[in-house]
């Protein structure tokens, strides 16, 4: 399941390429973008099927509702822009015109998290999962690498209803091999362990795996769970089972510690198996400009920073 060789690939390319593949199979697939088609890679679909590509210009709210109208007529719209503008700017449109009528619209947002980098806080969506998770009837997925993005985009096209997929700007180390099979109902046990459960998803997965190795060198056995589907939280039983074994849970995400994966894990555990949980992410703050890796370092999301924070937390326990 796990990739043995080193490979770095763009999850955005995975999205663009998959759109082209899906477009050939299903004529109902249409794609909308708001003047960021080269960044989101929907330009690949535009090139292949220009008649089914709609650029709304810099008008995201118009784009979301136009997608709603296309879905009303049976099309399967994939709507893309940066996570900041897809969610924060269009929250009302997504809630009232897409989710309330339960329309088959797939929102695929790129540039989620602090790793937007130098553009700074105005472009770094640190609350998008929180916004989306609070709306009824939408499925929220945060895939971890190129291979998983491809499978998740395909999965979204096959299920009925609104889906939000968050994709990183960053080119990512591939975690999963070609035999990996995305399962929306399960957590992926990437490493087995007994002392602590670390739950993550998206672009932080690779650093968390590396952190688990570092913890091992310090004599701490960490179990790593990757939970790509944050809503509905179908992996609850996997999370509970692991927490029962280790007794302590750490969540790691490139997102605010409010409302994202960490909150979802806390909600499940508090109701079923009250467990100590340390949420690692951006601590209720805005981001800032910086190079991608420096930002991850600053917010404590690199393997070594995670190792330090988690060791310290377990010592105190």
């Amino acid at each position: 399941m796990l990739k043995k060789t080193i490979e770095i690939k763009s999850p955005r390319n995975a999205y663009g390429e998959t759109l082209v593949e899906l477009g050939a199979l299903n004529k109902n697939i249409v794609v909308l973008d708001a003047d960021l088609s080269c960044s989101t890679q929907t330009c690949k679909f535009q090139k292949a099927y220009p008649e089914r590509f709609f650029n709304s210009g810099i008008a995201e709210q118009d784009m979301m509702c136009t997608a709603a109208g296309l879905a009303t007529e049976g099309k399967i719209p994939f709507v893309s822009t940066f996570a900041m503008f897809a969610t924060a700017r269009c929250l009302d449109q997504i809630r009232n015109s897409i989710c309330y009528p339960k329309l088959n619209v797939k929102i695929v947002a790129t540039h989620g998290g602090v790793t937007v980098g130098e553009d700074g806080a105005s472009h770094q969506a640190l609350e998008d999962i929180s916004y989306m998770r609070s709306i009824p009837d939408i499925c929220v997925i945060v895939p971890a690498d190129y291979n998983e993005v491809k499978q998740v985009v395909k999965y979204a096209s096959e299920i009925y209803g609104p889906v939000y997929i968050r994709i990183a700007r960053t080119n990512l180390r591939s975690v999963f091999d070609d035999d990996y099979k995305f399962n929306p109902e399960r957590a992926v046990k990437v490493c087995a362990g007994s002392d602590v459960t670390i739950i993550t998803n998206g672009e932080t997965l690779y650093d968390v795996i590396s952190c688990a190795q570092m913890l091992k060198d310090r004599g701490i056995s960490a179990e790593v769970l990757h939970v790509p589907v944050v809503k509905p939280f179908l992996a609850a039983s996997d999370v509970i089972e692991s927490a029962k074994k280790t007794g302590v849970v750490i969540t790691v995400e490139n997102h605010s510690i409010i409302g994202g994966l960490g909150s979802a894990v806390c909600e499940v555990l508090s109701q079923n198996l009250p467990t100590r949980v340390l949420r690692i992410g951006t601590p209720d703050c805005f981001g800032q400009s910086g190079e991608q890796r420096s930002l991850l370092e600053f917010y404590g999301l690199t393997d070594s920073k995670l190792c330090e924070t988690i060791s310290r937390y377990l010592d105190k326990k």
Partner: protein, 268 residues
């Protein structure tokens, strides 16, 4: 006033009275517009999804979703669902939600609306889809004049002309009043016709209570080679003397006495 429109006005008043809430002013102002659309212009089978010609129907979107009482009444009068159901309006478990919703399977409702400024963008998506499918149906959208203060409406106006959506027709129910008072005082839209023209639309102003004027402008709009905007000059609360041109009746239910007086005026 035609008997159809009298009945519609009576239903609107009774529904809002029974619900003890709702929007009489903007519902009463668009009765003739809806009446002409459903009686003379649009093809929409009242069997709705059960009709073999469902796909051929013209699409109607009530972007000013708060005028739901007017739409529900016209739909019930046209046989989309039983007239008895009108008095469930706004009550728990009703298919007749405060603002139109597709969640409850109410026949005749194309899309969910209520949050202003979204219906026209949805209509752009519907119109694009019809064109992709070579479906010759038209898309009609009813907007409020106050609603045009929402910026996203202008995004959609730009989209429609840019994408050459000649299958899209909007009617602006220009009753000149919004909750806080005169639209001209709250935030003026003028010169509305020139603005719409500048956005690439064909525009025509009509008396929104004159059925013959409405009918002929809709026919003109259907032959237009561009998206078409009809500015329908209307009176908020039309037909009820104490509601007419009174912003206070935007979102207020008549009490028992007011209902009685209002119904008498409609019947007169």
């Amino acid at each position: 006033m035609s008997s159809f429109n009298k009945t519609a006005r009576q239903n609107i008043l009774k529904m809002i009275h029974s619900a003890k809430s709702g929007h009489p002013g903007g519902s009463l102002s668009c009765v003739e517009i809806l009446s002409v659309l459903y009686n003379k212009i649009m093809y929409v089978p009242c069997e709705w999804k059960k009709s073999p010609d469902f796909e051929k129907r013209d699409r109607f979107i009530l972007s000013k979703g708060h005028a739901s009482a007017a739409l529900y009444s016209v739909l019930a009068q046209k046989g989309f669902f039983p007239l008895d159901e009108l008095l469930t309006f706004r009550k728990l478990g009703s298919r007749l939600q405060g603002h139109p919703s597709t969640r409850y399977g109410l026949e005749g409702i194309e899309v969910s609306t209520g949050s202003l400024g979204q219906g026209l963008s949805i209509a752009v998506g519907v119109a694009l889809s019809l064109k992709l499918n070579n479906n010759p149906a038209s898309v009609f959208v009813l907007l409020g004049d106050g609603e045009l203060q929402e910026g996203s409406v202008w995004e959609a106006l730009m989209s429609a002309s840019h994408k050459k959506l000649d299958n899209l027709i909007i009617v602006i129910d220009k009753n000149r009043l919004q909750i806080d008072g005169d639209t001209d005082e709250v935030k003026s839209l003028e010169p509305l016709d020139k603005k719409l023209e500048a956005f690439g639309w064909n525009v025509k102003s009509v008396d929104g209570h004159c059925e013959t004027e409405l009918e002929s402008v809709f026919k003109l709009a259907k032959d237009s080679n561009k998206p078409f905007a009809i500015i329908a000059n209307t009176t908020k609360g039309t037909g009820i003397s104490f509601m007419e041109n009174n912003a206070g009746w935007h979102g207020k239910a008549p009490n028992d006495d007011e209902l009685k007086r209002a119904l008498e005026e409609v019947n007169a």
